[in-house]
Amino acid sequence: MTGITLDLLLLQVFTGLALGTIFVLLAVGLSLIFGLLTVVNFAHGAFFMVGAYMGVYLLGVTGSFWFSLVGVPLVVGVLGLVVERALIRPLYGRGLDYPLLLTFGLGYVLVDLIRIGFGIEGRTFSTPAALQGSVDIGVGHFPLYRLFVMAVTALLLLALWWLIEGTRYGLIIRAGARDPDIVRVLGVDVSRVWLLVFALGTALAGLAGILAAPMRGVYPEMGIPVLIEAFVVTVVGGMGSLRGAVVAGLLIGMVVSLTSLVAPPMANISMFVVMALVLLLRPSGLFGRAGLMG
Amino acid sequence: MSGETILSADGVGKTFGAFRALRDVSVAFPRGRLTSIIGPNGAGKSTFFNVISGALLPSEGRVVFEGRDITGLSQHLLARLGIAKSYQITSLFPQLTALENVRIAAQALVSRFGMWRPRSALPGLVDEATALLDGVGLGRRLGVPAAGLAHGEQRALEIAVALASRPRLLLLDEPTAGMSPEETRSIMELIVRLATERTVVLVEHKMKLVMNISDRVVVLHHGEVLAEGTPDEIRANDEVKRVYLGQGRPAAAGLR
């Protein structure tokens, strides 16, 4: 363990939090969709990948990272709208497996469509000029862009929290997660809520895609490991729990980051060990069965 | 044998969040008798049924079967101890034939993990299933998939499925729900016949149906035991009258 100072450790914790924020964005979208629609979105990684590529495209057309950052979630969200309406809606009421299988197939298709549009080679996505360099955070220098990603995620989570806890829409979302029939009785068009929630979840995945692009690179298969990571986070946090998604996302980020410091070969494996432990000790996840905001 | 208790609920309570569905319910079910649990809507009958049948874990108290604490025991172990049940909402193997429904249930007693010999080589199961189906009046419907049977026939099939595990205790939750008067009559006759050979606990909303056939009646109200006794004692009970009459519904006619 020589050479590992406290500062290095703390710096690695920060790196883990930055990694974790991407997990959080993905897992929150996944949990939101599952909590309301009981659909496990196997195309979530593909939406993430499409987000990154839309970032590449919009940046190429407009030259503005900031414009792309706003545009990507919109584009991917609209894609989500179309997918829910055209492909997933016909499958409601046919059991939980069919929407899952469909989104799985959709993942294949999206990956190949991107290959056709952008080629099979990966793209680089350079960090925007304003966010290059690093800042001293007391324990060492930390990349500015990662701080930016953490800040954006924190702001988004606050906005989401406000949407769900503080607005009429949130009330419907919370009630709908508990019992769709109640919402239906109240005269709300449930299918519309589902549509919007699916779009919101995919938009978050797309946003995670463009945010992660400068850190992880952009390539057609980039969504596959991400999908699995998001699943691990969701299982650890508790399916359908937003608080669980946040806590587990940050936790897993730190576990992976710290493992890569002390035992690099174990870094990939560490998150699965956490998941196995949670499954053995707390089978419904850290925050399972507590409702959407639990 | 008549004084012996086969099943008892001791101080059973059940809460759902802030809602108290059952409060300190203690009931002893005598062996070999037909005991009915009645009560107005929302009295906690179904919750109580689910607790004594092991589908719900009580928040407090325990359930004892033949001297053994069975609280929280898994469903399949309860079945092997000799407790069978028929649910309020029909629960069968819909695509399998009536015969196969009962045959599989009977198979649970003899082979659960046998992977090599064909199932048709298990001796006696088909005959046993056929006899049971004859007994519930489905002798001519052996080859019909469960989903293709009429509602009343499905309820009868469910009873045959329950009987196939040779239970010492049979729990029935509103077996006549949604039935026509003729279907109701034939099912009630069947239940009376079954009760001559084993202990039966019957949860029923329609008081009138059970008063003439039960050995004992337990009345639940607001999640508590309101009264317990022979049908005659229940008929004479002022509190029971008040509860049923207080609802202002003709079900009280059963009290006469």
Binding site: L87, Y98, G105, Y108, N268, M275 | S91, A108, R112
Partner: protein
């Protein structure tokens, strides 16, 4: 049309009781129906993989997204036994099947109690764990480059040594194992245990109330399925003479889901139909365009939306014999 339908229905009804024999006869002539032998071998191996997967997906109603783990464990187990320890192939194949079985006990033990939707995610994640472990253990597994040197040149059959490198020999060698596996599966499905699987698929609550240990039965089915997939993996290793890391990859888990659904879940012959269709698409479409996955993925979505019973299942339904 209706005459054809009736006739087909009669044929299927006649074949039913002898399904294993009928399939073996079909596979004896099958290589001549395919463009080349290697494709026929792949149909057999991946079809067997899909048959194994079908035990949980089709017959028990569990959607696993981690079956690459068992295919891969079978392949690596067999491959390592041959390439690293020089074991004769029958022992190596057994080692592969055994390793897959152990993997199925562990993964199944962790995941089987997770209902429905969790199950797909947990199996996927645990299979990925297996992938990373084998990827990392380079001294034994060859890591990223795959495991090389799984050389089986001849199959000794008494005094005769068969040339395993000849495609025809290889095909019939694989067919012997596929036939044995199908015969075993047919027996299991006919057995009391098979009846319990049907009961669980139809109504889990009632199966429990009848006295069946549903979780235990599911775990047994899961392990059985793992053994079949392990055998397929072992045969794959012998066939390729290397074990690429892809056998453990997410895509392999997905591949078997696609094949089983395309063919028809819960049908006896469906998995082979699915494997054949998928491989033909891969083979033929990739001649025209590199984007054969687009075609396969779209076709898969069409089947999920409109033909959930798959090709073989829909055909059985059409001739009036429900799958």
């Amino acid at each position: 049309m209706s005459a054809l339908r009736t006739a087909l229905g009669r044929v299927v009804a006649l074949c039913g009781p002898h399904r294993v024999a009928v399939m073996i006869v079909f596979f004896v002539v099958f290589p001549w129906l395919m463009p080349y032998k290697a494709l026929a071998i792949n149909v057999l191996i991946l079809g067997l993989f899909a048959v194994g997967f079908n035990i949980v997906f089709g017959y028990t109603g569990l959607l696993s997204f981690g079956h690459a783990a068992f295919f891969g464990l079978g392949a690596y187990g067999c491959g390592i036994a041959i390439a690293r320890y020089g074991l004769p192939w029958p022992l190596a194949l057994g080692a592969g099947v055994l390793l897959a079985g152990v993997g199925a006990v562990l993964i199944g033990g962790l995941s089987i109690r997770r209902r429905g939707i969790y199950f797909a995610m947990v199996t996927l994640a645990l299979a990925q764990l297996v992938y990373y472990i084998f990827y990392q253990a380079e001294p034994i597994t060859g890591g990223e480059n795959g495991l090389r040197g799984v050389d089986v040149r001849t199959i000794a059959l008494g005094p005769v040594a068969l040339d395993f490198l000849a495609p025809t020999v290889k095909y019939y060698f694989v067919l012997v194992f596929v036939s044995l596996a199908l015969w075993c599966l047919s027996r299991v499905l006919e057995s009391p245990f098979g009846a319990v699987l049907e009961a669980i698929r139809e109504n889990e609550t009632r199966a429990r109330a009848c006295g069946f240990d549903v979780d235990g039965t599911k775990l047994a089915a899961f392990v059985l399925s793992g053994l079949f997939c392990g055998l397929a993996g072992g045969l794959k290793a012998m066939h390729l003479s290397i074990v690429p890391t892809e056998v453990l990859h997410y895509q392999t888990s997905g591949l078997v889901v696609i094949m089983a659904l395309l063919g028809g879940m819960g049908t006896f012959f469906g998995p082979f139909v699915g494997a054949a269709v998928f491989l033909l698409i891969e083979d033929q479409v990739s001649l025209v365009t590199a984007q054969w996955q687009l075609v396969a993925g779209s076709l898969f979505m069409v089947f999920v939306l409109f033909f959930p019973n798959g090709i073989w299942g829909s055909l059985l339904q059409w001739v009036g014999r429900a799958p």
